[in-house]
């Protein structure tokens, strides 16, 4: 097991080096001189300019710059934002809980709804419910989620006035120091009456929007896994033993059907990050995705570079975790 784990982890090292290289090259291809961006319109004397270049290490040979960049990254230095002059890692760490909270809520929505819906469709194959769900699923994973978000804002938020349409909480009414960075937990901890409810009301629409594609994928995957499992011998045996339909489906079939579903859930992390960029932009959700988009419009390339690096690192690590987990669940993989 340890050998498998180490082997799998070692495989990500070249990916990381390549990732560093790509972000390093990308930032240098960006039109505009980083020094001039920092100096601004007025311009400064050539001596000061040379000094700036020296401070930023831009007078060094390119290979040396790359090694320095790698060295910095390995020490957790992901650069400094031009806009706020803060460390990119610090900014990322402040914003990330918001994205994580949104992502967790979206995944809960997708899993809690998707698995039962898909399992029932698998059991009742060919029924009107099954056909409806499959139609729903195709629509779900074809959904332009930025439009879906606008529709929900238009109807649920504006017309019916059921939920707020931007931010994480009503900042005028509630204020408390962040403890965990999760607004719902912090609101609950603050003990202010109504704060938790308000945080949840802010969370629900973005979570539905972000969870829609995973929901469609999970429901579909659960359905086909269920179909496959239901024709297995052990399910027939369980039926023959005279077990109730509930026990057969719930205990024998669903548990085995969930193995591929778990992998699919893990692989949705990348989709979630991509979706978070759109969802956070639409709902003014102060997370990592919105920050990435804003750093483009501010031409804050160090923030963009560091942000992409951090987001990708996270996705690589989660995928590694999923692979390892899959090896634990399914011994055939790790010995293969």
């Amino acid at each position: 097991m340890l050998k498998y784990l180490l082997k799998r982890a070692a495989l990500t090292v070249p990916t990381f080096i390549a990732l560093m290289f790509v972000t390093f090259v990308a930032i240098r291809l960006v039109p505009g001189d980083p020094v001039e961006v920092r100096v601004g319109e007025r311009g400064i004397s050539p001596e000061r300019l040379a000094q700036f270049r020296h401070e930023l290490g831009l007078d060094q040979p390119v290979w040396k710059q790359f090694l320095d960049y790698m060295w910095q990254l390995l020490h957790g230095d992901f650069g400094t934002s031009l806009a706020t002059n803060q460390k990119v890692l610090t900014e990322f760490a402040t914003l990330f809980p918001a994205t994580l909270e949104l992502g967790v809520a979206a995944m809960l929505f997708a899993v809690l709804l998707g698995i039962p819906a898909g399992a029932i469709a698998g059991v009742k194959r060919g029924s009107w419910y099954d056909q409806f769900l499959m139609g729903f699923s195709v629509t779900g994973y074809s959904m332009p989620i930025f439009w879906w978000g606008l529709l929900l804002i238009m109807f649920v938020g504006e017309r019916w006035g059921l939920t707020p349409v931007s931010g994480r909480i009503d900042l005028i009414q509630y204020y408390f120091e962040p403890v965990t960075g999760f607004m719902t937990i912090d609101a609950w901890l603050s003990g202010q009456p109504g704060a938790l409810k308000d945080a949840l009301r802010h969370l629900i629409l973005p979570a539905i929007v972000l969870g829609t594609i995973p929901l469609a994928v999970i429901a579909r995957m659960t359905r086909s896994a269920m179909l496959e499992v239901l024709s297995e011998d052990y399910v027939r045996t369980a039926r023959a033993k005279g077990l109730s339909a509930w026990r057969v489906v719930g205990l024998h079939a669903l548990r085995n059907a969930l193995i591929p579903v778990v992998t699919v859930i893990g692989l949705q992390v990348g989709t979630l990050m991509a979706g978070a960029v759109l969802t956070e932009t639409i709902f003014s959700w102060p997370g990592v995705g919105k920050w990435l988009i804003e750093s483009i419009s501010r031409r804050d390339y160090p923030a963009l570079q560091g942000g992409v690096m951090l987001v990708s690192t996270l996705v690589i690590l989660v995928n590694l975790g999923v692979d390892v987990l899959y090896g634990v669940i399914n011994p055939r993989i790790r010995h293969g």
Partner: protein, 300 residues
Amino acid sequence: MAEIAVRLPESGVPPSPAGAFWAAFRENRGAVIGLAVVVFIALLAIFAEWIAPYAPNEQFRDAVKVVPVWAEGGSWRFILGTDSLGRDMLSRLIFGARISLFIGLSVMSVSFVIGVLLGLASASLGNAVDVVITRLMDLIMAVPSLVLAILVVAVLGPSLTNTIVAVTIVYLPRYVRLVRASALAELGKDYVVAAKVAGVRGWRLMFATVLPNCLAPLIVQAALGVSDAILEAAALGFLGLGAQPPIAEWGTMLADAREFIRSNPWLVTLPGLAILITVVSINLAGDGLRDALDPKMRRS
């Protein structure tokens, strides 16, 4: 287990491959509807100049933000209403179909060709080439799709061409991996060994012998890839990083309409509906294609 239906025609002559394919495709009602809609949208896109009532960027100063004909205050002059600059929505949506299909097809064909070349090179040359290509594709897959596309656009600058470049880079790994995996599987089979014994070597072996047998999953991937590319490009357009105004691209139109979400909800509803209908139809047709081309990949 899927039951295997063998239906021989009355004449007793087995159907041609195309006939067999169509018979299998026709069984899937969703796929046929999807295909019909795709064909309809494609015709709209091709003959946009003749079908659209107005030019996409023609402004009617006397008719700004007109509602569609079925809403109160709408008129037959602008069936789907006009946008904030008085441009006819129906015409813009029809021309938008051209842009979206163009993006989808360009991304698909470019990544198809490059994917086949890299995938076959990876499978046949092995060693260092294989490692480099596989690692590179792993890297691209590690960066969330939209984030990578944003990075590419940030470097190249936002435009229609760069949208195509960015989305192609994002979806390339799927083709490369698919080609590589199927080619590796085929390379071990007897007919390939026989071809090698007969003296077939190098590119000829890969293109003439191996590739035709990898095509079925690749065609399915290509069909579904068109819809993914359309969605991704629309998302970039929505973020202001895709096709730039005044181009009538659906995502860009949605971004323009955002501020009128209260005053004229139709401006938001219609472009999104156009994206959704197009993507759903392509996906339905693609699913049917998969079921018909490769019974092993059937999802139920």
